[in-house]
Symmetry: C3
Subunit: 355 residues, 3 copies
């Protein structure tokens, strides 16, 4: 399909700067571009490419003011990133929808399925499971006994939703994710042998949650591990038993949160962050990549980095000094020698000032 | 079901302090509590909640002495954490047991299955596999050719136990774990191309091992990657080829151990720890979260943190100074100036003491 | 099967030093060894074991010169590690090959399968998938619609190859890997709610790529996430959307690369390395374990460690000083006191030198 710049601008409530009639039929990345394609500029790192891109149409934020001539036609929108997302969503909506229960699936008789449900081949739906309307469960996935999945959620391939867990509405659970494996709880005896503490709680995912590929969210020891509404979890993330994540928090890949920690709302955890157990992390906390948190964070809206975490500006300045430590050590030893020399110094008459 | 405090105390060999006849029919977390529920106090961080919890019965360690009035009935037991585990186990034992071979499973004719085995839908049992008595293999799991699984083990969903690996008795393998994928072994040639070294060994898990969701334990190049008895492995842990883990070692989530390293007995690896290859780690070593170990640890029972790892006390003190490094740098430069000034200093007559 | 040292040397183009007629029928690790076995010496850390190994035959590099008597027969080859790999490959080639389409697999009618393909039980091959010759797809795996897998690739169990992704020739994809889950892309609105940016690109794996167990490679937002020829990826690695990895780069376990970063050719990323998004990493860069990279690396062939990454020698020296920081702090305070004392110091007549 081909669209004019004006047609796209109309769909996005945007304004065309340039040739309204130019047509595009595909997308491209701004650094490559290609004739007949549309691209977008959102991350300022890619700004220089707007002057050289071969794309014919570029979505830009309304406040974008070119510093020199741009040959492409621009469409100004409130948020170029959101707008491109809207266009991608349009494209996705043309992909054929999966529907119906595969003959090669296994659905327990006691399970209740809503309308317009898809269950792929070799997917198991356990006893007493409750599957909402428009839920799409792709092949090779296991929905265990007593699980509830609310309306409009998508569960991809090779996922395990374990016994009694609850998935909210409009969730997307990516391939290989495990929701509700046992928490890591053991009572060591006198000989240091570990006795398993059975984990009798579950996991409850709010609405509009996304869980990345191969991420793991453990069931609670008692009660529920709770993931708030709108929480977005990337790949290979570990969330331990009885953790609670506040609404609209984003957690990047390979981050891990230990047991019973409560993370606030609207927090951002970058990749490979670790948070110890039994902590409270205030709302709108931002943790830089690889940060390690071992104590409560009480004030809201702070940005940390490092392990143990310190304010990000401090971390950056300290890291600069870290690099200089060997030189600094040499300097200190030299200074010490000079102090020693000064302490031993005897004055000569000629060095004494008369007043 | 409802039990009195006394009935529970009898089951746990505990002592009731308070109302022996009060009844509970559910569990709660101490910080929430609820009328009609039982909770426990084990982690001292939660101590303050015992004075305010709404739970009617609280399991406490025998040495617990309240600092002020507790309205709940207490049951004193040797270990409150173990005792609650025993109660949870009782609850779990009422859950319906899975049994029998699903018609939708595939079991190779040459496989040998013990008594009272469960094989879920869409689970594959390969050629010559040997499955012990009371083994429960949940749906969507692959037990490859020549695998042995000993008595009373539980294998959850979407697990891969690869060719020729051995799972001990009473193991619990959580969803998505991969036991016996190829080790990461390549011989680079002159052009820097990697030639694969086939990995012809296997993985041998001891008895009472637990492997967390989506963890990976690679097969040995030659011989076996060996996980000792009673080892507990959390989620998303990586154990490379030819690693050996001593008995009763616990490994928290997202830790990784590189090839051929030998970890001792009764060690504790916290979350996101990394250990390089070809190292020996002494018994009872404790590695704090995110520690990175690049050399042998020879003395037993030490606690380390940091990357590279240093004794934990040292790490904490050094981390405090790390935070101050920019100020320290300023101070050092100022001190240097002062030394320079002192070196250039000339004395005035009036500043000379007569004796 | 039993072979003489001479037969093995002939197969490997090696030279026997010692008893040409001694026979072996198994492999062993050099530190254990055993009569009747062959082992190899490649990593110099294991050198001492060659003098005590009980193996009868040891493969060594041509430049190996024993420092004292070796009782085993040696076979000198260009690369002992490559040579043992060649022998292991020979052993592997005797393992029965899997072939044919399992009756318990599901293959969409529109899928095209090459010659000599294996599709295991409970594996799904989606619509319009194109599977090359000699491709082996093990049980419980999902090959989604419009996926292409080129000749001679092996896909193990519980793998997800998602919609429209391309797997090159001679790839090995280990169990639980997820190729082509959605990238982590969201546009936050004014309230801090995240709106999903649909990810309409794919993943393209080059030839001779190996992807480890439970690793995840996300599909591109637009275009392709590209893994070059000969790239070797270990377990639990995260590769985000629109990342490009140059040919013959090796990535160890639990490393993570954030979105749109371009890693050069022949790079080595050790375990638990993290690289931030939108960066360029030069060819032949080596990143030590747990390194964290937050800015471009422009010069080729450098070795880094630390987070943020600094040159490895610098990191090691700085780490030594880090350990001493508390002592250094004490020293600095003491020095400051001494400076203060010097500044206040008044001279005695007897300490004044006459010349």
């Amino acid at each position: 399909m081909e669209f004019t710049a004006q047609q796209i601008a109309d769909y996005l409530n945007g304004e065309v700067i340039g040739n309204k009639d130019i047509t595009v039929n595909d997308f491209s990345k701004i650094e490559h571009g290609a004739s007949g394609t549309l691209t977008f500029l959102s991350n300022p790192k890619y700004m220089p490419h707007i002057y050289t891109t071969k794309a014919d149409v570029v979505l830009v934020d309304t406040d974008f003011v070119p510093e020199r001539e741009v040959s492409a036609t621009l469409i100004k929108v409130k948020s170029a990133y959101s707008a491109i997302g809207k266009l991608f969503g349009l494209i996705e909506s043309f992909k054929p929808q999966k529907n119906g229960i595969s003959e090669k699936a296994y659905v327990a008789k006691s399970a209740k399925l809503g309308k317009n449900v898809y269950v792929g081949a070799f997917t198991t739906i356990g006893e007493n499971a409750v599957i909402g309307n428009n839920v799409k469960i792709h092949p090779n996935t296991n929905i265990d006994d007593n699980v509830e999945i609310k309306d409009d959620s998508v569960i991809y391939t090779n996922v395990s939703i374990c016994y009694g867990c609850v998935v909210g509405s409009r969730n997307i659970i990516h391939s290989g994710a495990v929701i509700g494996a046992d928490g890591f709880g053991f009572a060591p005896d006198e000989q240091g042998f570990y006795n398993k503490i059975p984990q009798i709680g579950n996991v409850v995912l709010g609405d509009d949650v996304e869980v990345g590929a191969n991420s793991t969210i453990d069931r609670a020891t008692i009660g529920s591990t709770v993931i708030g509404d709108g929480v977005k979890i990337d790949n290979l993330v570990q969330i331990a038993h009885n953790v609670e994540i506040g609404n609209h928090t984003a957690i990047a890949a390979q981050a891990g949160i230990a047991g019973s920690t409560k993370v606030g709302k609207h927090c951002v955890l970058a990749g490979q962050v670790g948070i110890a157990g039994h902590l409270n992390i205030a709302d709108r906390t931002v943790l830089g990549a690889q940060a390690g948190v071992a104590s409560h964070i009480k004030a809201e809206g702070q940005i940390f980095q490092g392990s143990p975490n310190i304010p990000v500006g401090n971390f950056r300045r300290s890291s600069v000094v870290f690099k200089q430590l060997p030189d600094l050590l040499t300097k200190i030893y030299q200074m010490e020698k000079r102090i020693k020399a000064l302490e031993a110094k005897k004055m000569k008459y000629k060095d004494i000032l008369s007043n």
